[in-house]
């Protein structure tokens, strides 16, 4: 059997990409606009908050502790050479609160929930459940997408705070048990190094990441074509796209906040 390869022109690829960006932007804007239109499906939002928030708690606890401990362990070997082991608390605190806490939590939740949303909505598309919902007079963006967006942004905010806290505890464990750092010294340096800008950065990012995770997951879900194979493809693409977008947005948000508040 001869294998036929169909060549796609770069213009077609660019057109498809532009169309995808346009559709994603519309969906994201509509999901936000729905917060100001009735009906607001609070029951669905609470259910999603439970699934996304409490469901992600074990993985966030585990990664938060590990990242904090690893950060302390790696920083300590360098700091020890310069006699600056007492700075370990500052380093873990800044790293976790401004960057690693939101980023790692975002990536973990993206892996768990963007894929879940894409596969759930994708399955509903291929089995005509979304069409059935529209035919029954219900707007799927209000019923399915907006509750997921609200729940993810809201719960990621709190998950990140938990991850930050556990990261600091993990860092303390390493600093105290392995390097013998005094408890009060560690926690004082953790607290004192943080300024408003750091906390603000660390709390704005999860809300943005939550929005990205949910809108990307939902977009790939409702764009699913091609049966069960298509659902699998959407799931993978959703995780990859959400993760990449989180990293890109993280960079620009950090840069923007530096531009607004200035460098230390």
């Amino acid at each position: 059997m001869a294998l036929e390869l169909e060549l796609i022109s770069p213009i077609d690829i660019a057109k498809d990409l532009a169309l995808a960006v346009q559709e994603y932007t519309l969906l994201a804007a509509q999901s936000l606009a729905n917060f100001f239109r009735r009906p607001l499906y609070m029951g669905d939002m609470l259910q999603q908050a439970d699934l996304i928030g409490f469901g992600s708690l074990p993985i966030v606890v585990l990664t938060g502790l590990s990242v904090g401990a690893l950060l302390a362990l790696n920083a300590a070997s360098t700091l020890q050479r310069f006699g600056g082991i007492t700075l370990i608390g500052q380093l873990v605190s800044l790293g976790m609160v401004t960057e690693l806490g939101p980023l790692i939590t975002g990536l973990m939740v993206a892996g768990r929930n963007a894929s879940g949303m894409a596969s759930e909505l994708g399955s509903m598309i291929v089995t005509e459940q979304i069409d059935a919902m529209r035919a029954l007079g219900t707007d799927p963006t209000k019923k399915l997408i907006t509750p997921r967006v609200g729940a993810t942004a809201f719960m990621l905010f709190f998950l990140t705070i938990i991850a930050d806290l556990l990261g600091l505890i993990g860092g303390y464990g390493v600093a105290h048990l392995i390097f013998g750092l005094d408890t009060q010294q560690y926690w004082t340096s953790v607290w004192q190094i943080l300024v408003f800008r750091d906390v603000f950065t660390g709390l704005v990012k999860p809300v943005l990441f939550g929005f990205i995770i949910s809108t990307i997951g939902c977009y790939y879900g409702i764009s699913t074509r091609g049966g069960t194979q298509g659902v699998g493809r959407s799931t993978t693409q959703a995780v990859v796209a959400a993760s990449v977008l989180i990293l890109v947005v993280d960079f620009f948000v950090t840069k923007l906040i530096f531009a607004i508040f200035g460098y230390r």
Partner: protein
């Protein structure tokens, strides 16, 4: 198999003057990826009539139903549903109109994460009707399709025929003025198919609901054209000889994106078109 009656089926029928047709297609065309699926299709579905749509696989029958409920939009032409032109309606306006139209999808399209009662009650829950009223009407609709025992079950626990009947219950619970059936008997055994045909005939003869029904099974449509629902006997009975096709039933055949036949059972049986004769033989 006799079908149980709905307690409210003897309720008086509203006498307001309806629009001319329940559904009207006027020169409707649609293409997917440059393949023309429907080309300048025109037909009318009068009030109270059931129209069976035939055509080979891929002839655009399901597309036609999705156009009729505004799930997809035509490239050209106009579609009227219950007197309103839906072609240029916004999605929000369509949501309102769709509350007056019921649809049964080919694969039932039940929400697999919801139980049977939640599936059937979906539209009522969206309208914030009281829990007692919802339960009463859900049980009534499930009784109509003889599936009251499945109230607490999930769709995955049901057979294909049962899922189809739950989908009918979901479509009729709000007593819509128009019903759209997409291959309601497709892939089912003859006994289950007959039960579903009887439900559709009952809906036609008792509730006078207008309906478009896509089907591959010519025998189902002929059964509907030669039978009526007897309210006294509470079951579907054959029409007396000589009165065949006296029920509000018509046929529409699609071929190569065009309508090649639109008429009643008698006209279909006496058609001289070679393709139609071969199709119905």
């Amino acid at each position: 198999m006799p079908v149980p009656t709905l307690p409210s089926e003897n309720a008086p029928v509203a006498l307001a003057k309806p629009p001319d047709y329940a559904i009207e297609f006027d020169n409707v065309s649609i293409a997917f990826d440059e393949k023309v699926v429907l080309d300048r299709i025109s037909f009318q579905l009068p009030h109270g009539e059931t129209k069976a749509l035939f055509g080979v696989a891929g002839s655009g029958k399901s597309t036609l139903l999705k156009l009729a409920i505004g799930l997809i939009r035509p490239d050209s032409g106009r579609i009227f549903v219950l007197g309103d032109e839906i072609t240029n309606m916004s999605e929000q306006q369509l949501f309102e109109l769709r509350r007056r139209v019921g649809i049964v999808f080919q694969e039932s399209a039940l929400f697999d994460s919801l139980k049977v009662d939640e599936n059937v009650a979906f539209r009522l829950m969206e309208e914030h009707i009281s829990a007692e009223e919802i339960e009463r009407r859900v049980r009534e609709a499930l009784r109509f399709v003889e599936l009251e025992r499945t109230y607490d079950m999930y769709p995955s626990e049901l057979s294909g025929g049962m899922r189809r009947r739950v989908a009918i219950a979901r479509a009729i619970i709000t007593k819509p003025e128009v019903l759209l059936y997409d291959s309601p008997t497709g892939g089912l055994d003859p006994v289950t198919s007959n039960t579903i045909v009887e439900l559709i005939v009952k809906q036609r003869d008792v509730y006078k609901t207008s309906a478009l029904m896509v089907t591959h099974r010519l025998q189902d449509a002929f059964t509907m054209a030669t039978h009526y629902f007897d309210r006294t006997a509470n079951k579907m009975l054959p029409l007396p000889k000589g009165q065949y096709c006296e029920v509000p039933m018509s046929f529409l055949i699609l071929r190569d994106a065009h309508v090649i036949f639109d008429g009643d059972g008698h006209q279909l049986a006496t058609s001289r078109d070679d393709y139609i004769r071969e199709y119905i033989s």
